[in-house]
Amino acid sequence: MKSFKDISISAKLTILMAGLALASLVAGFAVITALDTRLLHQELVNKVTLLTRMYAEQCVPDLAFGYRDDAQEILEKLSLAEEIDYAVIYGGDGKIFASYTRAGAEAPPDDLAARAAGLHPGRVLEVSEPMSYKNVNYGTIWIKAATSELSRRIAFKKRVMGGLVVVIAFFSLIIAVLAQRLVSVPILKLAGLARTVAEAKDYSLRAGMDRADEIGALAVGFDAMLAGLEARIRERDAAEKTLKQSELKYRNLFNNAGISMFRSRLDGAELLDLNEAYLKLLGRTREETIGMPSVNVWADPGQRAAMAEIFKTRDRVENLEFRLLRKNGEIRDCITSLNIYRDEGILEGTIMDITERKQAAEALYQAHALLEVKVVERTAELKLANEELEAFTYSASHDLRAPIRRIDGFSALLEQECAGMGSGGQDYIARIRKGCRQMTSVVDDLLRLSRIMRQKINFGKVDLSALAGEAAGRLLETEPGRTVKFKAAQNLYAIGDAGLLSEVMDNLLSNAWKFTRKTENAEVEFGAEEQDGHTVYFVKDNGKGFDMKFSNKLFNPFQRLHSPDEFPGTGVGLSTVRRIVEHHGGNIWAEAAEDKGAAFYFTLTAPLDKKPVLPALPS
């Protein structure tokens, strides 16, 4: 048996509406009938009471004077009231004085004393009234009315009401059916649609109801939901297709990748997936590899055990080197990078065979080491040769000084002795002496250069500004006639050897002094600027300058860009400067153009990144 919950909405609505109408009808009718019954009863009571009082009043004199016939005549008139069963007047002695009994009705008790026992409350209605006049009582009247008439009228009313209930119930049922159709038909339509959608999975269906009530709202919502579902399914299908394509793409990438890739259980019990490159590396077929314990690829069980420890704490391992065992027993050096998905107990990674690379690196390292040894050997040889050369230079220079002085000395004597010599002879002797002086200055320069190379550097804080000022002062003393505008930045300090840096300033400033000799409004400037985080000192002039294509010759000894007649000099100065700067770990370079002046830049501490760095080799 179906419970009320399970029967259709239309049946529910019909039952509810009809039931409600019927219930209210029955309740209303019941109340009306009950009220009517009460009212009718009351009416009867009132009527009988009134009659009794009237008859008591009326019949008092008849009773008083004993006119039984008159009283009887009056009582007989009650036959008009058909609900009266009898009316009886008892005299003062309690006996019947006069009475009327309706035909067929029960006669009244003979004696007033018998009355008390004979009462039938409910079905019968009896009213009594004392009969008195002016405080004198002559007897009692009793009138009995049958309630059967009342019951009949009530029963009739009930029948009418019952009939009405049936008729109204019928109409209310019809109305309920019509009303429920108004509500339930669209709902049933929606329900049918929902069932169709659920069974056929056809989300293109629509309710398409145009109503302004809640069902309309429901239908609109339902349609919107279907549209949403349809769109979602379309999106899902598209996404699935894309996903499949993407999967295929990545599967191809995976399989065709040059690098070995795999997926295995974290505990190493099973190799779940691997690509062609890995199969090739292992020298196995796919069939025999899938499902194989992945630990089998490790040539060294100890390595694998150490790896398992690492897996416990890390989510990613990169470039881990291990030895891989091929099917044919060959061992390959490999590096692997792994992602560990601990929750799923999965390991994914790539493997690269570095056997060849390692061998190459090993070979390279060997070659490099050999080269290094050779460089050390050569450097030592070179250093020795250099030292020998310098020693030679020094001793040669040193040994040259005495003969030159002697030539000069004897030339001076010869000049005095031969004062009468012709002007030609005098001139020759003068030239000899000039050559001697020039040679002496070259020898002095060379000696200074070689001394610098052998000298140890005493580092200290040096005031470059002061050194520049002193050098400029000395230059001005040598040629007081020249006007050169000299600018020097103040408070430029450096860490270095004071004597050697004084030499640098002397050389660079005398260079500038020298090459501005033929320049009007000659200017020489010493200063410093920041380049790439380093302090770069400079000496600039607006003198002769030089062509930059010769700049590589500039710092080599005895290299001159101008003739000694034009600008005298030995050609050793800038190479001395370079030596000193390089001894201080610095660099020196020049920027210039012909007739546009020259600028010499130098640093005193070489930038770190300019130091030559050899590639580190694996140990």
Partner: protein
């Protein structure tokens, strides 16, 4: 209601049985005068006297009997044991030539019919005059008693009643054989 009265109601009911000849269950000794005595009392109950007729609340109800007393001891018994209008009953017998004096109800025996006009003239206002006979009411007495159709009936003279300041209850008019003097002086 005075308690004593109730005791007499059964008796009276039995007396009433007399005119209809229903004497089988009743005492056969009841005479017409016993019924008349009861009638006197009943009629008195249905008549209203002016207040001035009584000297006070305790004043007795005086019944005077003119002529031969037909009631014998029965009326004496009634006067002794019962009340009229809540008052004690006082009986007086009036002989011929006697002054009527103060009385509320005067019963004139049929033998005194010849002296009716004389008695009427001497009766003071506020006296209810009952005559024992058919012609009394027609000729000036307020009430006349006589048997008719086997029953004791009465006639009423309203004019006489009004003249003497009495009010007879309309209730008993229906029972009267005749009512006189509705418009009389």
């Amino acid at each position: 209601m005075p308690r004593a009265r109730l005791l007499f109601i059964p008796l009276f009911a039995a007396l009433l049985a007399w005119p209809g000849g229903l004497t089988a269950s009743a005492e056969p000794a009841f005479s017409e005068y016993k019924v008349k005595a009861e009638f006197i009392e009943r009629i008195a109950e249905f008549v209203d006297w002016p207040e001035s007729a009584f000297s006070g609340p305790q004043a007795p109800f005086v019944i005077a009997i003119a002529g031969e007393d037909p009631f014998g001891r029965y009326l004496d018994e009634m006067a002794r044991t019962r009340t009229i209008k809540g008052r004690a009953i006082l009986l007086r017998h009036v002989r011929t030539g006697d002054s009527l004096g103060v009385c509320h109800l005067l019963f004139i025996a049929s033998s005194e019919y010849g002296r009716l006009s004389e008695i009427l003239a001497s009766a003071s206002p506020g006296t209810l005059i009952l005559g024992d006979g058919e012609k009394f009411a027609k000729n000036g007495a307020q009430v006349g008693l006589y048997p008719k159709g086997g029953r004791l009936r009465f006639e009423i003279n309203l004019g006489a009643a009004r003249k003497s300041g009495l009010v007879i209850s309309p209730k008993i008019l229906r029972l009267a054989v005749a009512v006189y003097g509705g418009g009389g002086v």
